[in-house]
């Protein structure tokens, strides 16, 4: 099997960048091991335990395109496929999360550990909207107030329409690539001729890679359009969502914070995985909890009370032990 993995020279530079290797220290749960398994067609457990954070790609001098390879090898089971469908429909997602939030036992109770508050997605469509505000599927129902703040801010300068839906990243990451491509196709239609501003940085990164249109991350848009910002007196640490980091988007968050006069107390390795990874936290609870623990230590060591994070799943994980704010929440 080719899959572009020939470039891997088995040097191991990616190992310590990989959250599942860091917590297991086993080749089975490492990028290098997973690549060998894929190359040789070995049915390894590691192929299931990958968080799909693609930190290994950033660490690889040779430029192995790991993400693409594993996305092609994985096959989603029916439960995952159903979950993916739910993510695509904001109203259904809202209804499902409301039920899950009350769950005391079983699979759904894992969701209730993370979800504090659910609201119906905000809708808005200015006449002749120039800009599409894309909250991201989870943000639309879990962080409605963030969406409201972002909308208010953008409406000062533009006519805005909100698009509630999913970018397809969970599908792509978890063995449902075909569906992910369909979603990208649909978004390409929806976004035609419009400028899209996304509130979830990992979704932004994915949509950019899938080339669905002119998509900006929220902070990127503010910086590139040089929009005015208020001064905010705060001290924070910043989490860099993994995919956004790979594409070099996280520097815009820092730039916006700097322009607002916010003091940043950096944590060690800010792009280290949050532990949530799409639906990973539901299917790999044990590993996910361990990764969260490592992240928690890094966050706490920074000494800051507030974490700025602009990706929805990350925020859920970070909220377990810290106060978490989106850039839009500061506006």
């Amino acid at each position: 099997m080719g899959m572009g993995l020939e470039k891997c020279v088995h040097c191991g530079f990616c190992l310590e960048a990989c959250p599942t290797y860091v917590i297991t220290r086993s080749e089975v749960h490492s990028p290098r091991g997973r690549i060998v398994a894929m190359k040789l067609g070995i049915p390894s457990e590691g192929l299931e335990t990958c968080v799909f954070c693609r930190r290994c790609e950033a660490a690889c001098p040779s430029g192995v395109e790991y993400g693409e390879a594993i996305a092609s090898v994985r096959k989603a089971d029916p439960i995952k496929k159903i979950m993916h469908r739910v993510l695509e429909d904001p109203n259904l997602l809202y209804a499902s999360l409301k039920i899950a939030k009350g769950a005391k036992t079983g699979f759904l109770s894992r969701v209730s550990e993370f979800v504090k508050e659910v609201s119906p997605p905000l809708t808005k469509e200015d006449k002749d909207a120039e800009i599409i505000l894309f909250p991201g599927c989870l943000t639309s129902v879990l962080f409605r107030s963030t969406v409201e703040k972002a909308l208010n801010y953008l409406q000062k300068f533009y006519k805005v329409k909100i698009y509630n839906g999913c970018c397809g990243l969970p599908h792509y990451a978890e063995g449902n690539k075909e569906r992910a491509l369909k979603i990208a196709e649909k978004l390409r239609e929806e976004f035609k001729g419009k400028v899209v501003v996304s509130l979830s940085s990992n979704c932004t990164a994915h949509m950019k890679e899938m080339k669905v249109g002119e998509v900006y991350d929220f902070a990127e848009f503010i910086v590139k359009r040089d929009l005015p910002l208020p001064k905010v007196n705060a001290e924070v640490t910043v989490h860099d969502p993994c995919h956004a980091n790979l594409l070099g988007l996280t520097k815009y968050n820092r730039e916006v914070l700097k322009r607002m006069g916010v003091k940043i107390k950096e944590m060690e390795d800010p792009s280290f995985e949050c532990g949530a990874g799409g639906t990973y936290f539901m299917f790999q609870p044990e590993l996910s909890d361990k990764i969260m623990k490592v992240k928690e230590e890094k966050v706490k060591k920074s000494g800051a009370e507030v974490v700025i994070s602009t990706s929805e799943a990350c925020n859920l994980a970070l909220m377990k032990y810290s106060k978490v704010l989106h850039i839009a929440d500061l506006l």
Binding site: K7, C11, R25, P43, S62
Partner: protein, 456 residues
């Protein structure tokens, strides 16, 4: 036995079936082994129990760190049990200018776990991943060897489980220092369980100077002249045009000029650095080199450290030589290497620790074409033979492993080898630890090991 091991470490940490193949080779990919079992003990006690059990059953084993050896020294050739010590990565104590760690900790974490004003000096390019146990067992070098010495100079004491099952601490003494015997032992004298390491104060000032040269010979002369000018740089690395071209196609590209590059790092106090940098700039200028003094030098060092894996952009596999030669022969050997490259029709890219004369000719080959591997091995044999003729050593830092067994007889006398052999037999009379490597000659298991182990 598998059952007993499972009881010690837990089911999750015993790897059987096809997944074992993930532990069948390391950074040297030309020979794939076949472990009978892989075990990952979770702490020192478990490691001791597992190793004692294997000893009691007379099971042969390979102690493995992060598996980045470039000489194939962790490849299980005859169904050995692989004991991976990566999970033993604790920091036990940080005191004064010393730190005590478990063997599985990655090199990079040692400095990260040390007081802010101190650092662990030996940093092989693989420092982001390679383990202290592996660094010690290969006496790893790195870009700072030229000033701070290889791993050898930074090890204070060791806790080892010996092949007789005893666990012992070895402390330094001024006579017959027992610690040193384990440094570079390639896992053949026992398993290191803890290491107390020396830390150095971080220098007050640092500066990177880049020399850009039209020819390798001129760059090599500059290396010699920098020392003649009385400067001991903290790093002095060379990248020839071939490797620069390759790195500039990789993810770690730094925008280096397509030429032969010297990367010089100077450290010390402000005045020292200023004085040395004037001298270095002068040397480079006199040899028609161009000088760059970058504000932000990180990307250049990243490009240097990522240069081996960057080979992936041209070839999925390559051999990495590491012979040392006296610095004064650098210009000569570089010319000879270029000749060998032409004669054997192989690409040779050079990126190496020029300051201590430690060469790294990288020779790519196609893993699906045995003939290309044969040619690469032939070219490498010629290069290390040449290095030995010039008064050098066949391996400066990557170890003997399975890759360089035949070089030993060329470099050492029969008596030397007998003494080393006797040492090994004293420690491990049954040959349980890391068989078929280093000093132990085995029958070749396939055509590649035949090429590697036998003279024509």
């Amino acid at each position: 036995m598998e059952e007993e091991i499972r009881k010690i470490v837990g089911d999750k940490w015993v790897i059987t079936g096809e997944e074992k193949t993930l532990y069948a080779f390391d950074g040297f990919t030309a020979v794939v082994g076949n472990p009978s079992l892989v075990v990952l003990p979770g702490n020192e006690e478990e490691a001791i129990e597992v190793i004692r059990l294997l000893i009691s059953k007379e099971k042969k084993m390979i102690i493995r760190g992060s598996g980045t050896s470039l000489s194939g020294s962790t490849v299980p050739l005859k169904g050995e049990v692989v004991v991976s010590l990566t999970r033993l990565n604790k920091v036990y104590e940080v005191k004064g200018m010393e730190i005590e760690v478990g063997p599985g900790i990655a090199n990079i974490m040692v400095t990260k776990s040390s007081p802010q004003d101190l650092f662990f000096a030996p940093d092989p390019s693989s420092y982001v991943v390679s383990s202290i146990g592996g660094n010690i067992s290969h006496d790893a070098g790195g870009i700072h060897v030229v000033k701070y010495g290889p791993t050898f100079n930074s090890v204070i004491s060791l806790k080892v489980i010996l092949p007789n099952g005893n666990v012992e601490y070895f402390y330094p003494t001024p006579f017959l220092n027992p610690t040193s015997i384990f440094i570079g032992a390639e896992g053949t004298l026992g398993a290191i369980l803890r290491a107390r390491l020396r830390l150095f104060p971080k220098p007050k000032a640092k500066k990177t100077i880049i020399g850009v040269f039209p020819t390798v010979e001129k760059a090599s002369k500059a290396v010699v002249n920098i020392f003649k000018a009385g400067v001991i740089p903290s790093s002095l690395e060379m990248m020839d045009r071939n490797i620069v071209e390759i790195v500039e196609r990789s993810r770690f590209r730094a925008g280096l000029p397509r030429a032969n590059i010297l990367l010089v790092e100077l450290d010390g106090n402000e005045n020292e650095v200023k004085e040395s940098s004037e001298k270095v700039i002068n040397v480079i200028g006199k040899l028609e080199g161009e000088v760059l003094v970058p504000e932000d030098d990180e990307k250049y060092w990243l490009a240097r450290k990522g240069a081996f894996p960057a080979m992936g952009v041209v070839s999925p596999a390559y051999l990495t030589l590491d012979c040392n030669i006296p610095r004064k022969y650098l210009p000569e050997i570089m010319t000879e290497i270029e000749k060998i490259s032409k004669e054997k029709n192989v690409l040779i890219a050079n990126v190496f620790h020029a300051g201590d004369g430690n060469l790294h000719p990288l020779i790519p080959y196609d893993p699906n074409d045995p003939e290309s591997l044969k040619r690469a091995i032939e070219a490498s044999t010629e290069i290390f033979s040449l290095a030995i003729r010039m008064g050098g050593v066949p391996s400066g830092e990557h170890g003997i492993g399975i890759e360089k067994i035949k070089t030993l007889s060329k470099y050492y006398s029969e008596v030397d080898l007998k003494v080393m052999q006797r040492l090994r037999n004293t420690f491990d009379p049954k040959g349980l630890f890391n068989p078929c490597k280093f000093l132990e000659k085995c029958e070749p298991i396939n055509q590649v090991t035949r090429w590697l182990w036998e003279w024509d």
